[in-house]
């Protein structure tokens, strides 16, 4: 067990590497109840979210559709990254990180002054993720009758029934579901999934899976001092429509105009060793950046990392491992899709 965002969570249930592989080849089960569910409703909900989030919730036309977004400080720093679901007219659901949940809630409450809306933290809800190529097939027969339509869910869509909510989302780069449900029912579903041949997976596998999938981890790859433009999340910033004045827009525009801003990149170590968070990156004798997330990739059998480097860092980068300088290769994210490497090595 390890501390994580105020929770005690299992790092693994036996072997992190086997848990990783089971998600890439079959189906794995994660307890992600540490994530906080926030429900937002009211006639000003859309207007509020259009100001609060760097991505544009107005893009969500169909109920159930999800949007990934950063929530920014006025200076462009990332307060949190979250998923926002369009539940129904004037109703939205956000899922935020555990460690930032209290901070998020007080920030949102302060920003909501003058808007007609209600914000409710659903601490009584639990959440599990079933991920892998066989995840949906193994989960569908175990869902309550009201959620049978989950069989037809498209990627990045969700649907609810009572206090249950199921979405075709995840943090592993595999197909699967995330299921929000009452705490009183989560153990029962967990046990039925285990019986159906879904393997429990810990925080370790969750981290190596998301790293291979090129997905950011808040607190590692970005925080309040980093803008989405310096952590690979430029694609989540909706500049259009031009008139939408979201929090942080002005500062972000200045950062976007600055050609010196740092770049975010994937790294592959071809030699033996493991790249880890906070390791310095060198271009010759010059320190040009730092690893923000690193680890061993079970799919590639090599170490991979995500890093932030200066704009002029170039392609020839090295890392210092146990007193030796080893070359690292810059690669495009993600590293792995559908269990296969996205580049030759």
């Amino acid at each position: 067990m390890v501390p994580f965002g105020g929770w005690e969570m299992p790092l693994h249930y036996g072997s992190q590497v086997s848990e990783h592989q089971v998600v890439r080849t079959d189906a794995g089960l994660f307890d992600v109840s540490h994530m906080r569910v926030l429900d937002l409703s009211g006639s000003d909900a859309l207007l509020f979210l259009q100001s609060l989030l760097a991505n544009d919730v107005a893009r969500l036309k169909k109920p159930g559709k999800a949007l990934y977004s950063c929530m920014l400080r006025p200076d462009g720093g990332v307060l949190d990254d979250l998923i926002c679901y369009f539940v129904a007219k004037n109703q939205y659901r956000m899922v935020v990180n555990a460690a930032t949940a209290d901070k998020d809630l007080s920030w949102m409450t302060r920003q909501s002054d003058g808007y007609r809306l209600e914000l409710v933290a659903r601490r009584e809800l639990a959440m599990i993720a079933v991920q892998g190529p066989n995840a949906r097939a193994k989960t569908l027969p175990l869902l309550p009758p009201g959620l049978r339509e989950a069989a037809g869910l498209e990627p990045f869509h969700g649907l609810g029934h009572g206090d249950w909510f199921i979405a075709r989302t995840g943090y592993t780069g595999e197909d699967g579901f995330e299921i929000i449900l009452p705490q009183s029912q989560v153990v029962g579903l967990w046990e039925r999934l285990i019986k159906a041949g879904v393997s429990p997976c810990g925080l370790g596998a969750r981290d190596s899976l998301r790293l291979e999938a090129g997905m950011n981890l808040y607190g590692n790859d970005m925080d309040e001092t980093i803008s989405p433009l310096e952590c690979g999340l430029a694609w989540t910033v909706a500049w259009e429509p031009e008139g939408r004045d979201f929090i942080g827009r002005e500062a972000l525009q200045r950062i976007a105009d600055n050609t010196e801003r740092r770049h975010f990149t994937g790294l592959l170590l071809e030699d033996k060793g493991v790249l880890r968070q906070s390791m310095a990156l060198f271009a010759g004798e010059r320190v040009v950046g730092e690893i923000t997330s690193g680890g061993f990739s079970p799919s590639l059998q090599r170490s991979i990392a995500m890093a932030r480097v200066s704009a002029d860092a170039g392609e020839d980068l090295q890392v210092e491992l146990r007193g030796k300088r080893l070359p690292v290769r810059r690669v495009k994210l993600p590293f792995v899709r559908n269990g296969k490497a996205m580049f030759d090595f």
């Binding site: 790092l11 693994h12 072997s15 992190q16 590497v17 370790g204 190596s208 033996k272 060793g273 493991v274 680890g295 061993f296 170490s303 146990r322």
Partner: protein
């Protein structure tokens, strides 16, 4: 956890050593050590022929979680290394006390073995760490 083998000696830094009775000894890391490290992904073996000092680092194991130095429990010359570990470091996770042995050395002074822990004393140390 399995019973600790009684025929081994243990270092407080979690290596085991077996006296082969011919002036040589075999070294590995304990089952407790591998469990704490998690899945091993790389190992840097000592160099064949190198001279090791008691209590000095001589190899590195790297797991999904962390890199960890291995210290030679006694001094001596490395006469064999477990090459199979280079491609299959997980052998240490599966069989820390047997197939996962790391290196063998010709002891400079077998009396150094007496300074190490026996199974009971090492078990006590592990119990203290866990609680």
């Amino acid at each position: 956890m399995n019973e600790l083998p009684n025929d081994l000696r243990y270092a407080s830094s979690h290596e085991w050593i077996r006296n082969e009775g011919d002036g040589t000894a075999t070294v590995g890391i304990t089952d407790h050590a591998q469990a704490q490290l998690g899945d091993l992904v790389y190992i840097e073996l000592p160099e064949l022929g190198s001279q090791l000092e008691a209590g000095k680092e001589c190899a590195v194991v790297e797991s999904v979680k962390a890199a960890s130095d291995i210290y030679s429990p006694v001094g001596g010359e490395v006469i064999a290394v477990n090459e199979a570990l280079a491609d299959a470091p997980e052998t240490i996770n599966e069989s820390a006390f047997a197939d996962g042995w790391i290196f063998r050395l010709r002891m400079a002074d077998p009396a150094q073995l007496e300074e190490l822990l026996d199974a009971d004393a090492y078990q006590e140390l592990v119990d203290e760490e866990v609680h």
